[in-house]
Symmetry: C2
Subunit: 208 residues, 2 copies
DNA sequence: ATTATTTTTGACCATCCGGTTAAACTATTC
DNA sequence: GAATAGTTTAACCGGATGGTCAAAAATAAT
């Protein structure tokens, strides 16, 4: 047999690609089948329905993303090191998976309940993540700031430029090459920006 | 006649609502017609096709958004005042139009060319916006930083928490009331965060 | 080798959906 | 008030789309 991959994996790979790019309503079962190089009926043979297949892809994708994020922040490092590594890793990762984050956000916008099932299967508790950041803010920088705000700030500075790429690029007429440079610059700029901001709290003493 | 609104406006209002929430492929012409309280054929009578109607809504929405953004940054104020006002305004505006930004991003992700036509109709040149910010960074804070990075930072800190709301809220199990508080807090936190970050550059002298 | 089981296919179905058309209704013009 | 133009509707069309099914092909079990 030339079946280098088994059918189920081929389907999942194709479904991932199509769903990530086009979302649930934009994707076509036929397109997924074609991409996987199989008959459309097989999709229903392995996964009951379009929705079931989508849910599978969503769960998978979300877990992957969540794991990558928490993994770094739960490791043994200073907060600033974590931020540096996270930002760096993320820009690299996402440049090869540009649709992923938006896919997750859209899927959740469309139907927030989707996350329930997934979050339970997850081994990481979000509370632990926040608590870890809170402790590090306090102990390493003497800051009593809500860790959620800081975490959201970090994500915003990293994720927004990626999902808004078409927006930014077209508005400011930036060619692809300069855009690549732009992202490369952000690997340094974002950690510096955050560090400056946090240090500012130290001197200011205007806590939130 | 009881036609409080003319038909065209009723259609546009309905189309806005549906397209904003569900996007092009997720929206149904019948649903728009129902919401507008008219016959489906009328949609085609006033706007040729689904695509034409969508394009109309997109243009309209994008312009509204872009104008709001640039208006503030091109006014006569210190950069920090602009940032404060912008952040404040945006959280207020968006809480009543939560789907808008994501709608624009998705529409552009789906088909980047969409922006071409719109940008030409726009009276604001993006270059002027950046140039204004650059000048203010230099003159008011003595900073030689790429204004695009700063602008993107601001947008990221404001927009990301809004479009990722379902994500954030479900992951961290935040009830609606606490989420409202969260956004209210950000009106202060974000400007402070940015101000600290920028001041950090001043003392650091580690320019980018 | 034969049977039983799993995998794959092509033909098909019902429904959805964007779009068309002709006729009905309304408003305007003369 | 008849003629004309503009607006609205219901019925319909054709193709796309998610999904089914029975039979064929491949694989495994005896």
């Amino acid at each position: 047999m030339d079946n280098s991959q088994n059918t189920e994996d081929k389907i999942l790979a194709a479904a991932r690609e199509v769903f990530h790019k086009k979302g649930l309503s934009g994707a076509r079962m036929q397109e997924i089948a074609d991409l996987a190089g199989i008959n459309k009926s097989l999709l229903h043979y392995y996964f009951r329905s379009k929705d079931a297949l989508f849910e599978k892809v969503f769960t998978e994708t979300f877990s992957q993303l969540a794991n990558k994020m928490t993994e770094i922040f739960l490791s043994e490092m200073t907060l600033m090191s974590k931020i540096g590594i996270f930002v760096n890793f993320y820009f690299n990762f996402i440049s090869g998976h540009s649709y992923i984050v938006q896919f997750v956000i859209n899927a959740l916008q469309d139907k927030p309940e989707r996350i329930r099932e997934v979050i339970l299967k997850q081994n990481v508790t979000p509370e632990i993540l926040l608590e870890t950041i809170r402790k590090q803010l306090k102990e390493e920088m003497g800051l009593d700031i809500d860790p959620l705000h800081i975490y959201v700030n970090i994500l915003g500075l990293v994720i927004f430029p990626v999902i808004a790429r078409p927006l930014i690029q077209s508005i400011f007429a930036i060619p692809d090459e300069r855009m690549a440079v732009f992202y490369e610059q952000r690997k340094k700029i974002v950690p510096t920006f955050i560090e400056n901001a946090l240090k500012g709290y130290e001197t200011d003493r205007t806590m939130v």
